[in-house]
């Protein structure tokens, strides 16, 4: 039996969408595409000499070879700084997540303290690190080792820069991991414990595999951020050798006519390395069974 009311109900129950669903993403896509695709295309064109400030466009790789040696040294330095700080951030963040996950007052304390540093801009973190670690900083004052204080800020080991990245990113990694572990680890851990797994066994066979995907993702984000970030290394680093972003910004702001393409070349190299890091992380994640 077919009642007219039913027909009315059916037509009203599914209002025709005014725009096809897939098109909902278009405004966001347009903005991101303009920035990402437009930005990278223009910076590549600049680096290849296709958009000179004066003169005729001419395809050349001169901008890449002009500072070839510095580019290699800077790339190595950037990789070392980003790699070390990411490794530290992952270790400390994983420990913090384990403590947060256990709940109780110490977990809550660590969670609260780590969320303090999340909303802090990196430039503020760098300034604070300077006030803490410089040779006139708080630690040097408290320990009273005026002359023997190691050159952490602006020193040869980039200690203050690595400290700042590790500090900010460890809070990020810790909170991401705690979020992941909180939803699925308890059952597995109790099962493993009932089956006789010790603390180290549970850590190795339950907690570490469970947190590996989130650890890889947050670690990659932290790595790429510290690899391509300018202000911390600029404020707490030393003039030479320069990490890639600092070198790029110096060339970009320099007055010589050839420096813009050279700055663009440094930027393209930075982007290429970042992209490689992402692809490697994705390839690794695909091998993890937990990754959907």
């Amino acid at each position: 039996m077919f009642l007219p009311e039913t027909e009315v109900l059916i037509t009203r129950s599914r209002p025709k969408p005014r725009v096809p669903g897939a098109l909902l993403a278009v405004p966001a896509i347009v903005i991101v595409a303009f920035v990402v695709v437009g930005g990278s295309a223009m910076v590549t064109a600049q680096s290849l000499g296709l958009m000179p400030l004066v003169g005729r466009p001419e395809l050349s790789t001169a901008a890449y070879t002009a500072h070839g040696g510095d580019l290699l040294v800077g790339g190595g330095l950037s990789l070392a700084i980003a790699g070390t700080s990411t490794l530290l951030a992952c270790l400390i963040g994983f420990m913090a997540a384990l403590i947060m996950m256990q709940g109780r007052w110490c977990g809550k304390l660590v969670a609260a303290m780590s969320s303090l540093s999340i909303p802090l801009p990196h430039i503020v973190g760098a300034a604070a690190t300077g006030l803490l670690l410089a040779d006139s900083g708080l630690l040097a004052r408290v320990f009273g080792t005026a002359e023997r204080w190691p050159p952490l800020v602006g020193g040869p080991w980039w200690a203050a820069v690595i400290f700042e990245y590790a500090w900010k990113e460890s809070a990020f990694v810790g909170l991401v991991l705690a979020g992941t572990l909180a939803t699925r680890s308890v059952d597995y851990e109790e099962t493993a414990a009932l089956l006789g797994a010790g603390r180290l066994g549970r850590l190795r066979h339950v907690l570490l595999p469970l947190s590996l995907p989130a650890l890889m993702t947050s670690g990659t984000i932290a790595f790429i951020y510290s690899f391509g970030s300018y202000e911390v290394a600029w404020l707490l680093g030393r003039p030479y050798p320069e990490p890639l972003p600092v070198m790029a910004l110096r060339l970009y702001n320099s007055v010589t006519l050839t420096s813009r393409p050279e700055a663009a070349a440094v930027a393209v190299v930075t982007a290429a390395v970042s992209l490689c890091a992402v692809l490697m992380a994705l390839a690794f994640l695909r091998k993890i069974p937990l990754w959907r």
Partner: protein
């Protein structure tokens, strides 16, 4: 998890026993170790903020002294005279503008990815998350030329670029929320005769409200904490707190001013977090 109980052993006894003997709970040595680790981690996270807290109130703190010699609020005056109020207003406007753009666009993109899979979906997600893989200064070098040629005002350019860098976060948060979202509620409301507006206000919005707040907060942070994009595209026309911190920290003898400006940078997001934590806990039934 199924546990076969030995006959005669009640379930409660097992649970108590498990807790006491420590299936996953630690023994005394482990507990001490854990407390020590927790204390060390708390110190690690809070240590860099300690000199800021001291310098804010230090009118005079010459070198070897471990604590300020004169306490007071002179630094606040100096920071205000260096344009702290203008910087605060600029930062707030930038954060709010980025949040106001990136949050609704992220909602739309996430809804499209969650409920309307098409052959474009993979490309769309790759593009939406691309900003995470591309350092901001790289795109800004290229865009500066483009924005000047298109005669986009510099402040609008800053907002545009930062919105693109906030979109991965808002899209991700909303995509997770829509993953746990039941379209049945909306259909039910339609069946009961609700109009599109009513469905949006009474069903969709309450269901996604917590995730919406998180996404908006993250997008706000992208604008609030940016330094490089504001400097390179804004070219000084837009003054924000990070810019003031950078110029003060690059000079010498500004430690007190740096501390006050840093505190200004930390206070609003922290207040938002606390506010969200408090209001979120007050009505637990409202969450999906």
């Amino acid at each position: 998890m199924a546990v076969t109980l030995p006959p005669g052993l009640p379930r409660e006894a097992l649970r108590k026993d498990a807790a006491r003997n420590g299936l996953t709970r630690s023994r005394a040595a482990g507990r001490i170790l854990r407390t020590a680790t927790a204390a060390a981690l708390a110190v690690w996270f809070v240590l860099p903020l300690v000199p800021l807290g001291l310098w804010v109130f230090a009118d005079r703190w010459s070198y070897p002294a471990p604590l300020p010699q004169h306490w007071g609020l002179e630094n606040v005056d100096s920071a205000l005279s260096r344009g702290a109020a203008t910087g605060f207003a600029g930062s707030l406007a930038l954060g709010l503008a980025v949040s106001a753009l990136a949050t609704p666009l992220g909602v739309l993109a996430a809804r499209s990815l969650a409920f309307h899979p098409s052959r474009w979906s993979a490309l769309f997600s790759a593009l939406l998350f691309a900003p995470l893989a591309l350092p901001a200064f790289v795109t800004v070098f290229g865009l500066n030329v483009l924005l000047v040629r298109l005669q986009v005002p510099s402040s609008a350019g800053v907002v545009l670029v930062l919105t693109a860098y906030a979109l991965p976060y808002t899209t991700y948060v909303m995509r997770l929320a829509f993953g746990a979202h039941d379209l049945g509620f909306e259909e039910e409301a339609c069946t009961l005769g609700a109009t599109r507006g009513q469905v949006f206000l009474r069903v969709q919005l309450p269901l996604i409200a917590p995730a919406l707040a998180r996404a908006a907060f993250l997008a706000f942070l992208v604008g609030w904490s940016d330094y490089l994009v504001t400097v390179l595209i804004g070219g000084g026309s837009l003054v924000t707190v990070p810019l003031l911190v950078a110029s003060a920290a690059a000079g010498t003898g500004n430690d007190g001013i740096v501390a006050v400006l840093s505190l200004i940078a930390l206070a609003p997001p922290l207040a938002l977090l606390l506010f969200a934590g408090m209001t979120g806990r007050r009505r637990p039934g409202a969450r999906p």
